[in-house]
């Protein structure tokens, strides 16, 4: 009987510990994706500023309310603008940032194609 009770307590403790650990990791992921607006190049996770402490409290509250990661980001973007998240969403102000790699890829491919064709043409001649 005592052994069963001991095992039960161990099970509860391990489950609780792993659950809270998992939650802590999720919270840390959210903090890492948020920019500290009053610090130089630090995320909310890295900063000990007053602002970071407040944002951490708000994120914890929203997490407890069952809000998803994206919903938390949306809420903070509505209050502070897109600058607060490290990964911006696609919009007219940053379309060049998103489009540039694809543009470089297409134009680069085209240049390589031209160079290869020219080399082949020269060899034939």
């Amino acid at each position: 009987m005592k052994k069963n009770f001991f095992l039960f307590i161990c099970f509860i403790l391990i489950t609780t510990f792993s659950y809270s650990n998992e939650n802590q990791n999720k919270l840390l992921e959210v903090y890492k994706n948020l920019r500290c607006l009053v610090c130089q190049g630090q995320s909310i996770a890295d900063s000990n500023s007053d602002f970071a402490a407040t944002i951490k409290l708000v994120v914890q509250d929203q997490f407890k309310e069952g809000k998803k990661e994206d919903e938390i980001y949306e809420f903070l973007i509505s209050k502070y603008g897109e600058w607060i998240v490290y990964q911006p969403t696609f919009n007219k102000n940053n379309f060049l940032l998103w489009a540039l790699p694809y543009v470089v890829l297409i134009f680069g491919g085209f240049i390589i194609f031209l160079v290869v064709r020219k080399t082949k043409h020269n060899k034939v001649n």
């Binding site: 607006l37 209050k79 031209l114």
Partner: protein, 174 residues
């Protein structure tokens, strides 16, 4: 012919990169929340600093034509410098309601601050843990937000109110 096409492509690339850098240089890198003007404030309930049973919410602010929400603290030196403008606003313009939100402060210190400098606020709310400030997009104090009866932000003042901003507020609430 091929060479000319390559030259055109390289030239287009140079123009494209110059355009990207030119746009990048034009962007203001100093962060502020001034671009949030036009957003609406919602879902808040503010408890009075000196009475835990008294509170206001967005319903109360909708009754005012204009409300100036000012975040302050007794430990904040610039808050002292802007206080005279808040007092002037309160004395000279009765149409504008001023709500003070005491940010991460001790209650007694805040009450002494208002006793010493005067109380320009129609209501003083408490935000002891700072969570309320996030609802208003505040990231440092003092900060003030002027809203209309629709709870739309029509002006944000980051930092202490000065004479220029005081005149701007009066112009906006005319």
């Amino acid at each position: 012919m091929n060479i000319s096409i390559s030259k055109i492509i390289i030239f287009s690339f140079v123009i494209f990169f110059l355009f990207v850098f030119w746009r990048g240089l034009k962007i203001d890198n100093n962060y502020n929340t001034l671009n949030l003007i036009g957003n609406r404030i919602s879902n808040f309930q503010l408890t009075e600093l000196d009475n835990d049973h008294q509170y206001i919410s967005e319903k109360d602010l909708k009754k005012n034509e204009h409300t100036l929400i000012n975040f302050f603290a007794s430990w904040c030196a610039p808050c002292r410098s802007e206080h005279k403008y808040l007092l002037n606003l309160s004395n000279e313009n009765k149409e504008i309601k001023i709500i003070g939100i005491n940010f991460k402060d001790k209650k007694n210190n805040a009450l002494n601050f208002l006793k010493e400098l005067g109380n320009p606020y129609n209501f003083v709310g408490s935000d002891s843990d700072g969570k309320m400030s996030v609802l208003f997009g505040i990231y440092g104090i003092p900060e003030s937000i002027l809203i209309d009866s629709d709870l739309t932000v029509i002006k944000k003042i980051v930092g202490p109110i000065n004479q220029f901003q005081y005149d701007q507020i009066l112009e906006l609430v005319k």
